[in-house]
Symmetry: C2
Subunit: 351 residues, 2 copies
DNA sequence: TAAAAAAATGTGTGCGCACACAATTAATTT
DNA sequence: AAATTAATTGTGTGCGCACACATTTTTTTA
């Protein structure tokens, strides 16, 4: 290690022939500065390409950063359990800094519960919030509140563009549908029917499922395949409803647009010994992994809720603590998971 | 923001009834401490779960961290150009800290040039080094030197386990071969011959190519496929040598174990209008992307040299600047890239 | 022109830690 | 028991910055 010789505010001040206070003022635009001084300092600033020492800056402004993450109850759905895992990882990661990260959960099946959390969120007066706005309408209300209180927010999983968040973190759903189509189309053979299946417990995010299906259809547009789709909101009776469709001998494969739906369909396929039917679904839920390993599920598209959540928190901290500029959008790669590369994903720490 | 109330060394000292100096001594094991004081301090330390403020720690020990990255000349091979891009990204990322990151390149085709760099590397007296040890023998020599000088190093891309680096960053090559097999096997049809192709300019890392092939063969072990392999070290005459093999009507697909080789083979397939032959290769080189988009290449396995290099530097900095503990190995996921998910990888910032 | 107000600039302190050094106490030696 | 030496403990300074406050200069008002 050598002694540092980076340019400090002090140096800037000296070069510009003013005091550090004045430099501080032009840097942060606080207080009055004569245009003469302003100019001199700016000149030196530009000339030297001054970069503040973020370490010192953070230490100097002695604050505890408070971040709140608002997402569905992880016990209700494994997908959100993964998201929570990402938050927990973030907490660990920032444990050496003055950052306090809290989670607030709402009921995935009850939009009303989302509204209830609003008070809780605002009450804790966080410096920034990470939100999974699964309930469109209710979210907009909350976001308006946040705007009023000038609390910055990052959205993940579901976008609400008109809310102009600090950053949106998610995946291109249409494109992921196309990837699903590509994977289903890979299989040779003469079968030409593709089924797109929406299994949901709540229809609030049906828009997103439709986006995925749209991608799928777009992929097959110019090809001699027939895409049929089925919407089922009562998972208990799924079997009865799709029995006819899956017994269609022309059926090549099924695309399930929800993570939970994926293993439900796998169960059924297994029951009827229809493992030859291609199955493409979403996310690395424990149950899905089981069927992927057995070969009932052929491909999983990883939306990576864990990393989404983690990066969401990290972005907030980087922005609020280190005033780093964030990208408007952080669109995740569409990861294709197979039997053979699954473990490499599971064991990878960076993931 | 609220006032912080994290436990500081000062607090520990007070609680243990000693001075901060003593606490500092037990924390860093420097200087003598009476067993009495030692015990008291340790008790408080454990009880409170003290975590040092890394920000303050870094600022307090006023040093400039010097990191050197040693890798092949990026102008010689696009693969290494990607690695360099990762380093550059790291430089940008740490530009606000007292970290100085330098790159030293060696000739990819000349082991001797690697040795020459040794002086340069040691001469700059870095605090840590990131190395791509493509030349096994020469690398071991350098690593021994580093050990003598007590300079910690992180290896990436190629492992040398007996050198026990701070951390190794890479991919499971055998497993990536299996993934290749899986992808080749996906195609239906009656063709049953798979070709494994090694195209290299230098045979120093042939071990790694063999590992990939090993994975491929392992995948097809119990299946009615025939795997033939071809080693070619003279890329200029590749075409002549593989012409016979690719014209084999039973040929289902080709697995190319090198990134550069991938597009070379694609060129040939295109020339003979053999696009129906499956082609699986490595890495997102510009040329490979072209053929992937056209469909000549069906799958690319992304070794992600860019992120490997970047994470290598980041790990070094985190360890040396923030004394974070590193994992022994950072094994990257085996990413499957297709025409449809390619753009999602290219545009993703986090990648 | 003096006094008051406003504008501009400068100074000082603390953040939590590392590290050098000073001060104190205990153990040996003479 | 005084003088040395060793062992232990305490204190002070600086890292680069933010931010509060003090000081100086200029402008306005009386």
């Amino acid at each position: 290690m050598i002694e540092k010789k980076n340019i400090r505010i002090k140096d800037i001040a000296q070069m510009a022939g003013v005091s550090v206070g004045t430099v501080d003022r032009v840097l942060h635009g606080r207080g009055k500065v004569s245009s003469d001084a302003q100019q001199k300092v700016e000149e030196v600033l530009n000339r030297t390409g001054y970069k503040p020492n973020l370490i010192a800056r953070t230490l100097g402004s002695n604050k505890t950063l408070k971040i709140t993450a608002l997402l569905p109850d992880p016990t209700q759905d494994d997908y959100w359990a993964l998201a929570e895992a990402g938050i927990l990882q973030s907490i660990e990661e920032w444990s050496y800094y003055d950052v306090e990260i809290n989670c607030i959960f709402f009921d995935l099946y009850n939009p009303g519960s989302f509204k209830t959390t609003t008070e809780g969120v605002l009450g804790s007066k966080p410096d920034g919030i990470l939100i999974a706005p699964v309930f469109h309408h209710e979210s907009i209300e909350l976001l308006n509140q946040l705007k009023v209180h000038a609390i910055p927010y990052v959205l993940f999983n579901t976008n609400i563009p008109e809310a102009d968040p600090l950053c949106f973190i998610g995946q291109n759903l249409v494109q992921s549908g196309k990837v699903a189509g590509e994977l289903l189309g890979l299989a040779g053979g003469s079968r030409r029917t593709i089924m797109s299946l929406h299994l949901y417990e709540n229809r609030d995010n049906s828009v997103h499922l439709m986006a995925k299906e749209h991608g799928l259809r777009q992929y097959f547009q110019e090809q001699p395949y027939q895409v049929i789709s089925l919407d089922l909101s009562t998972p208990n009776e799924v079997e009865d409803h799709i029995k006819e469709a899956i017994l269609n001998p022309d059926l090549l494969g099924i695309f399930v647009t929800t993570s939970k739906g994926t293993y439900i369909v796998a169960q059924i396929l297994e029951k009827y010994s229809l493992e030859h039917i291609r199955l493409v679904g979403y996310d690395l839920l424990e149950e899905n992994l089981r069927y992927l390993r057995k070969g009932t599920i052929d491909f999983l598209i990883n939306q990576n809720p864990k990393r989404m959540a983690k990066i969401g928190v990290n972005h907030l901290v980087n922005h609020l603590l280190f005033q780093k500029t964030l990208p408007e959008k952080e669109i995740f790669p569409i990861e294709i998971i197979t039997r053979q590369n699954l473990d490499s994903y599971l064991t990878s720490r960076i993931h």
